[in-house]
Subunit: 213 residues, 2 copies
DNA sequence: CTGCCATGCATTGGATCCAATTTTCAACCC
DNA sequence: GGGTTGAAAATTGGATCCAATGCATGGCAG
């Protein structure tokens, strides 16, 4: 079961995260199967996984499609991030090596060179998620990753809309977080991280045109 | 796909939550299929869903089994609950009807009659989860429900071990929460709820014999 | 008697096939 | 001309079948 199913699930996940399958769009089993040279069966199993992750919706006899999220839904998901990510960072803190800290710095330096939207999205994602994975608690990292995945489309739409104008705020916040993590100050780190997420949420709310309805 | 798969998934979920399939136990596809009078295919798809929910682990060519959780994992999951459930309650608060509040009171009264472990588990679950579902944000209620599901086995083992001795603490905390919710005081309600979960977590940590290793 | 290897059984992984439902599109009636 | 109804095509749901992998038992050699 697993090998083909896993391949298909990974493919579909990155297709959705990459914006190649947009909200509202239907995912036909046969299409994906041919595209990957597999039968429909692994595709169906992969779709069940993605449905459980919230990346697709499944209606009986109608198939799978990527769901639209309302602004309110995304807003609440950002509030969830605001609660969970400081916890994830605190749980990871004891396991972060000097090498991890160096990598954080590298990522941030690259972000500050003023990369394009796609590169920024990928680097920003790594900046946050790689840090959390050190805690080793799958249930926690999975929950956070799911929140990132489900909201990725709207984050991209927002950034394409606003451009890199307020990128300097992100940089300042990231630097504060890096600094606190380096000092192993989990209270400060959590505070800065929560503030960072909170500010992003508020800014996102200023652009309702990104969402459904 | 969905009707049979959903049936199988629901069946397996309640079998695991009911303790009829314990951690470490293997879930054979053929067994479940015969048990429900279906073919193996819906079973396989249901197992993918449960795997994504964390209720089973899937190893290639070896099949699915219910995973053991370490004390540390459960501890972190309780910390996640401590973060998420106050948020869920706050988001639900505006949508709670007088009827909902009445139901909360009913449940708590029944708990206070001194029911057995199984009834308590079910009533306690309803007390918490039904409240949150009013918020209407699937991503939030699902996340919380998953945390309850994954830790249910250890909660039951803990209660069977300690008996109803400290049930009065739960009752007092529930009453505080009900009262705050009735007053529509989301700050107090969140505080009491977080404290309730936190105390449970600490007490659970006193019984390492419940966990793996 | 013990440890290793091989053969056979059980279980899972994947593909193909058929039935059921939905969707599309066109003809027809108002 | 627009809306409704019908049938055909497309798509999904479910079952059966075959291959591949893992596990256990038993035989053989040391």
């Amino acid at each position: 079961m697993t090998v083909a199913t896993q391949r298909v699930a990974d493919h579909l996940r990155s297709a959705i995260l990459g914006g190649h399958i947009a909200p509202g769009e239907r995912v036909r089993q046969e299409d994906i199967a041919q595209q990957l040279g597999a039968s429909r069966l692994p595709v169906r199993e992969a779709l069940q996984m993605l449905a459980a992750e919230g990346l697709v919706e499944h209606e009986p006899n109608k198939g799978a499609r990527v769901p639209w999220l309302s602004m309110h839904e995304v807003d609440v998901m950002y509030k969830m991030r605001e609660q969970l990510e400081p916890l994830a960072l605190a749980e990871s803190m004891p396991f972060l090596t000097p090498g991890d800290l160096l990598r954080l710095d590298e990522i941030q330096e690259e972000i500050e060179t003023g990369v394009d939207v796609e590169s920024f999205m990928s680097l920003d994602r790594e900046f946050h998620l790689r840090t959390y994975s050190a805690c080793g608690i799958d249930q926690l990292t999975n929950a956070v990753t799911r929140l990132w995945n489900s909201t990725q489309y709207y984050r991209r739409a927002f950034m394409q809309l606003t451009g890199p104008s307020r990128r300097w705020v992100v940089n300042a916040e990231h630097r504060l977080i890096i600094d606190a993590v380096s000092r192993r100050d989990e209270v400060d780190a959590g505070r800065f991280l929560a503030g960072h997420i909170r500010r992003t949420r508020i800014e996102l709310r200023r652009h309702p045109e990104v969402f459904a309805e």
